[in-house]
Point group: C2
DNA sequence: CGTTTTGGTGAGTAATCACTCACTAAATAG
DNA sequence: CTATTTAGTGAGTGATTACTCACCAAAACG
């Protein structure tokens, strides 16, 4: 029942809210995402975007007044729609069970999120790059994502700690190790042009043992 | 006995080889590294570099003919001197012991490398960012780093697998999880402006359990 | 129907960029 | 000493950039 929402879905969500977006504007957004992922934001010119979207350069500036607004328009729906939906969906699915094992939790996190990372790897790559380079992006996104984890993931972790299923480390540290393990797979996908999916079972086993409580 | 070589040492090594480099050129390299880390390579202008190094803009181009060469000059000594030294040093220290436990290995990797990451976090940040964005950097560095791991780390891993100290997974997967765990800490340092050092013991415990052989 | 609004165009512009070059200063060589 | 090389300078340059604007076409409105 997990939603497999891609960035395209999110675009359409946002668009549905604001009336339908003309097709050429959608092409501009798609071209921007593709080029930002391939070359990075600041190595991409508005001329290139116009060329790939097959529109005039003026069209690029019709809706978004600056290149920065264009970046925001690409990333914002992902952060404010896609990501929250995914996390909340995960939380409600896990929380409603009476009893959760460590394996349940980790398998759920890894399997769904790995698919998600595979589908949205372009946005993730752009987001990651800009996080490293631009402090303004950092300062906007960190306070938006952090509470999502606090509200949805951390309560589940606490439940598992109480029932002796999970090691008693700070929630943010456990989250760090889970995210880091997935990140390593994403990095591998980018560096070696490798498929992400197949490593699932090993990642689950690794996390399951690494996060087991002290015997 | 681990060498704590910083990028400055590496600069001086390379400089010693090629005769002494004039002080203004060193200032150019230092200013470049600082600005690349703060703003990213392509958001940094040669004018800014000249200003921070307090030299004329022409001086920036005296030794390095293009901005790209300047990036290479900043990254190259790190990859071709600092990194190999570190890895080989680690390997010889570990290999000469008769018997290694999983704990020995992981503690050695984490403790030394964490210090290293802390000291060289600026170069690492630049390197990481450009790896995400520029395929030419990727294609130059991957084949230079991969054999280092194959020659120095993988034999040690194999020994541990044989003696039942380590889970029987492919070497590259084990390396991935170790690197990923450290990367997660680096990411945390960048995102939250947090000190890196303190998390050592938890990272060691996490990896030690996660990489234990199946009971 | 005329009028207004909306989406789209592409030549044009001011600013900025990486990079050059003619030149000076000083060190080194012979 | 002169001659040559090396380090450094900063005004200048052509190319490129993000962005603008006068204009057009068609749809929506009344």
């Amino acid at each position: 029942m997990t939603k497999e929402m891609t960035i395209q879905d999110a675009f359409q969500n946002v668009m549905a809210t604001r009336g339908d977006v003309p097709p050429k504007q959608q092409r501009v957004l798609a071209a921007s995402l593709a080029l930002f992922a391939e070359q990075g934001f600041s190595n991409t010119t508005t001329k290139q975007i116009a060329a790939r979207a097959e529109v005039a350069e003026g069209t690029v500036y019709r809706r978004y007044k600056t290149k920065d607004e264009l970046l925001a328009a690409v990333l914002a729906p992902f952060v404010s729609e896609v990501l929250p939906n995914l996390i909340e969906d995960f939380a409600t699915n896990i929380v409603k069970r009476d009893y959760i094992t460590r394996h349940d939790l980790i398998a759920a996190v890894i399997q769904d999120r790995l698919r998600f990372a595979q589908e949205n790897r372009h946005v993730l790559q752009v987001l990651l790059t800009e996080l490293l380079v631009r402090s303004d992006v950092r300062e906007q996104l960190v306070p938006q994502v952090a509470p999502l984890l606090s509200k949805n993931l951390y309560p589940v972790l606490d439940r598992l700690k109480v029932s002796g299923e999970l090691i008693d480390w700070p929630d943010d540290r456990i989250a760090q190790f889970m995210i880091g393990t997935m990140l390593s797979q994403l990095a591998r996908g980018i560096l070696a042009n490798e498929e992400i999916e197949s490593a699932g079972p090993m990642m689950i086993a690794f996390l399951e043992k690494g996060l087991a409580p002290e015997s």
